[in-house]
């Protein structure tokens, strides 16, 4: 029934070879490297890890990283100067984004725009929840996302083209060549969209037209039996048009550019069975520029640039003890620089760090991992981030896991040195080190209407620090009951102190604000995550059902204390009557949904080369802003309503060609006022051609 429906949808009915990729990635035997910096099966790890494989990415019709991550349990995409990732209730700043183990740079207002990353060259995405500062240092406070890119070992190639609503097009091509012990992989992508406008009554697009290009390459060479060289590089460039209307009706037009590159040579030396050395060097540069002009006169309105570089040599030593225990030691240096219209001069940062991790496996059922990292910053007090985790296999079906660790995030360049007057909207933002001078300058220019908070209070900000606990249970009913059912539950609690938030310091004469950054004392996030998948035979095909749910409770502890002390009130805006706020009324931190859920169906009919998916993503209501004067989330009209989006795809493979069609946001749900990034219903169709030097092996990895 479902099959015939799908075939009808695609309009092609021919027998074909099965697709090479399968949903294998959902199982627990996928090998990941992010959690421990060593290759481990997901199921054997003592911390919560999510793996998303290429098959799922392709079957979901994803183009960019945010498309696929938002469908994963416990993750949601939040929009603030780009599409960022919220993990365990933390804003995007607190999750480290790695590509092949190396950090991506170039965050705007703390958000690393995931829309920058094409999924075309991704082999696997690994998400580790909970702090991993013990291995990765700053930013790995809420979690780590590691994108593992393709590294084929045979000669092959592919070309794919996709077109869809909003004139969104994607062209991707890659080729892998093998010559003896050397592999070369090249990848290219062009992604463009005409954008969209959810509010046609106002001038300017909700999302402006853009085009971007990604190129990447990898050379791997087995130099000798024991020495392997990997050289990886990546380049990204984007152009986006901008048009906006000022309050005085003047039109502003212009363009923005983003460029990013990474170079990453790695030499792996397997000295002996017990010793392995990895020499890594990583360099990344990120730059943006924008040039805005008055449409009528062509006169300069605002021109800005931002340049950041990141250099990191690192040495990692792995020692295997009696084939059972593993010791990892690492030492490295990070040199960073930033230069921007918005920062005074060229600012430099450096970090010297070392880390150690011991994986102790006393019995077959028990794994204990202890580790820690010491980061010595040029600007801050040194940080030590320990982590301890353990996994115990109660039975072949059930495993318990627990981990506890410290995470930290150092104040970034922006929070210290930003010196920015937004020409378009008219607000100003100053880093804590620039605030006093900035306020003085604005006052001298007569731009300050009123000081709203004492600038001296901002002082020096400190690194943000968290203590986290994760407690989980994973059940795999395959081995003992021959049931393709996986279930996992994870409870988490993060206690954060010295959280850095933007705060209004003064009001300008134009009605806009002057912002700076301050340590917001204490916050906690806690919750539970449940994830499950079940595979069943449906006719000649396979249906994989995945479902997930996260309950989240994220609160500001000082607000909790104030409510408990009876010091928080609210005024009914209609009756103007004031009443005391009760604890039950407090909705916690803004932009956090209490409930998030997903339900996904993936259907495969290998004999006919057919696959399809239906995915539903739910997010319950979340706080947007205060409306009744007490600055906390406590009444219904302060929330953005919850919503659900449905996504469909269907694909058919004939020999080397795959045709895919899909619809994102099937019901066309939009909320222009509060969720401008949610475009309406989007259809698309794509064609992919895969080629391999020795075809017809078509080993189905299931």
């Amino acid at each position: 029934m479902l099959t015939s429906l799908l075939l009808l949808l695609i309009g092609i009915q021919q027998p074909a070879v099965p697709p090479a990729d399968t949903m294998r990635s959902r199982s627990l035997d996928a090998v990941v490297v992010t959690a421990t910096r060593t290759e481990r099966q997901v199921g054997s790890l003592p911390m919560p890890v999510t793996v998303v494989g290429k098959a799922q990415i392709q079957q979901s019709g994803s183009l960019r990283l945010n498309d696929i991550l938002r469908e994963q349990t416990g993750l949601t995409i939040v929009s603030d100067h780009g599409q960022g990732l919220q993990v365990q209730g933390f804003a995007p700043d607190y999750t480290l984004i790695l590509v092949d183990g190396e950090p991506l740079i170039g965050r705007t207002a703390g958000t690393l725009d995931l829309n920058r990353l094409t999924v075309g060259n991704i082999k696997q995405i690994e998400v580790v929840k909970g702090p991993s500062s013990s291995l990765y240092g700053s930013e790995a406070l809420a979690g780590v996302v590691n994108i593992i890119t393709e590294s084929p070992t045979r000669t092959q190639g592919s070309v794919s083209a996709r077109y869809g609503a909003n004139r969104t097009s994607d062209l991707t091509a890659d080729v892998a060549l093998r010559q003896g012990k050397t592999n070369l992989y090249l990848f290219g992508n062009r992604y463009a969209s005409a954008g969209y406008d959810l509010t046609p009554e106002t001038y300017g697009n909700t999302v402006s037209p853009f085009t971007n290009y990604t190129g990447s390459g990898r050379l791997t060479s087995q130099l000798s039996n024991r020495v392997k060289l990997t050289l990886t590089g990546r380049y990204f460039a984007e152009n986006q048009n901008a048009n906006t209307q000022l309050t005085d009706q003047q039109l502003i037009v212009g363009a923005g550019r983003v460029n990013e590159y990474t170079i990453n040579p790695v030499v792996t030396h397997q000295v002996s069975d017990a010793w392995k050395l990895m020499y890594r060097y990583y360099r990344s540069g990120y730059r943006t520029s924008s040039d805005l002009r008055y449409q009528t006169t062509g006169a300069d309105y605002d021109a800005s640039y931002f340049r950041q570089t990141f250099n990191r040599p690192e040495l990692v030593v792995e020692r295997t003890i009696r084939n059972r225990h593993f010791l990892t030691l690492g030492v490295g240096y990070i040199g960073e620089s930033v230069e921007a219209t918005r920062y005074p001069g060229r600012q430099l940062f450096s970090t010297r760090y070392s880390f150690a991790q011991f994986e102790w496996i006393p019995t077959r059922r028990l794994t204990i991992i202890a580790g820690g990292r010491y980061d010595n910053h040029s600007q801050y007090a040194a940080q030590f981030s320990p982590k301890l985790s353990a996994r115990y296999e109660v039975s072949p079906t059930i495993a318990l896991r627990a981990s506890s660790g410290v995470g930290f995030k150092a104040p970034d360049f922006r929070q210290l040195y930003l010196n920015f007057d937004n020409g378009v909207v008219g607000y100003s933002v100053f880093g804590t080190q620039e605030l006093a001078a900035g306020i003085a300058r604005l006052q001298q220019q007569g731009q300050i209407a009123e000081i709203l908070a004492d600038p001296a209070r901002f002082g020096t900000i400190r690194a943000e620090r968290s203590m986290a606990y994760n407690l989980g249970i994973a059940a795999n009913f395959q081995q003992k009951y021959n049931l393709p059912l996986l279930l996992s539950v994870n409870l988490f609690r993060n206690d954060v102190r010295d959280l850095i938030e933007t705060q209004v310091v003064a009001q300008k004469t134009n009605g806009q604000n002057v912002f700076s950054y301050t340590n917001l004392n204490r916050v906690f996030t806690q919750g539970a995550e449940i994830d499950g998948s079940y595979r069943l035979t449906a006719g000649a095909g396979r249906l994989t059902i995945g479902a997930g749910y996260q309950y989240l409770d994220a609160r500001d502890k000082s607000v909790v204390d104030a409510i408990r002390a009876g010091q928080v009130f609210r005024r009914n805006p209609e009756t103007l009557i004031t009443e005391q706020v009760k604890m039950a009324d407090y909705g916690g931190l803004l932009n956090r949904s209490r409930h998030m859920a997903n339900l996904k169906f993936f259907y495969e009919l290998p004999r006919h080369g057919v696959s399809a998916s239906v995915r539903g993503i739910y997010r319950s209501r979340y706080g947007f802003s205060d409306r009744n004067g007490n600055l906390i989330l406590d009444v219904d009209n302060e929330y953005v309503p919850g919503y659900i989006t449905w996504h469909l795809t269907a694909a058919k493979t004939i020999r080397q060609l795959t045709v895919q069609a899909g619809v994102d946001n099937l019901t066309g749900y939009t909320n222009p006022q509060y969720i401008p990034t949610l475009a309406g219903r989007l259809w698309y169709a794509s064609l992919r051609w895969n080629w391999q030097q020795r075809p017809a092996t078509q080993s189905n990895s299931l």
Partner: protein, 214 residues
């Protein structure tokens, strides 16, 4: 010494007895009423909603709107150097008629609690005065005094549960005052374009000089 103390006690007792008997017989004494003042302009700058469709820009005068709580009316700014007024408004700044920079004997205290539940000025209350532009009895700045400022919505909102305890300009009477809105018409959902600097507030003035407020 002891004699004087006893005499004082005696006098006090007599006064209290007299007061009680007076109260018992009085026909004019009523519980004090709360009064609501709507849309008191506090030097509006941007626009004013005129009767027509257009909004007219209004130049700011930079002057405080002075108010007498006893008379429930605006006092001319020319009388600023008198003790006729008790409280003044300009933009988000609130002044009282007392302190180094004022002529009167007034003062204020920012109290946390609900207006209705506050039946008397607490005995421990200390009244601050306007000593300088940066040291006002009612502190300026978001979260410090009577209002919060939201950077998301760009709106000023009166902090719920903040009551201004006022000593009048002549230094002899007390009142409690709660700011309800900063926007013209006290709309339930003001926007950043709603004309601002219009105070809606309610207050209870105790004419008999006591600190009882109900």
């Amino acid at each position: 010494m002891k004699l004087i103390a006893n005499l004082t006690l005696l006098t006090l007792s007599a006064a209290l007895l007299t007061a009680c008997s007076k109260d018992d017989n009085a026909v004019t004494t009523q519980p004090v009423q709360s009064v609501t003042v709507r849309d008191l302009p506090a030097d509006p700058v941007s626009t004013t909603a005129s009767s027509g469709t257009a909004t007219q820009p209004v130049a700011a005068t930079g002057k405080y709107t002075l108010y007498s709580l006893r008379d429930n009316k605006v006092i001319a700014n020319t009388d600023s150097a008198s003790n006729k007024w008790d409280i003044g408004f300009r933009s988000t700044s609130i002044i009282v008629n007392g302190g180094a920079m004022r002529s009167g004997q007034g003062g204020a205290n920012v109290y946390t609690g609900t207006f209705d539940a506050l039946t008397a000025i607490p005995a421990s209350t200390t009244f601050a005065q306007d000593q300088s532009v940066t040291q006002l009895a009612v502190p300026g700045g978001s979260g410090n005094g009577w209002y919060n400022y939201s950077s998301t919505t760009n709106l000023v909102s009166a902090i719920p549960g903040r009551v201004l305890l006022i000593r009048t300009g002549d230094g002899t009477k007390y009142a409690k005052l709660e700011i309800l809105s900063y926007y013209l018409g006290a709309p339930a959902n003001p926007t950043s374009t709603t004309p601002s600097r219009y105070f809606t507030f309610r207050y209870t003035y105790q004419p008999n000089g006591s600190t009882t407020l109900n």
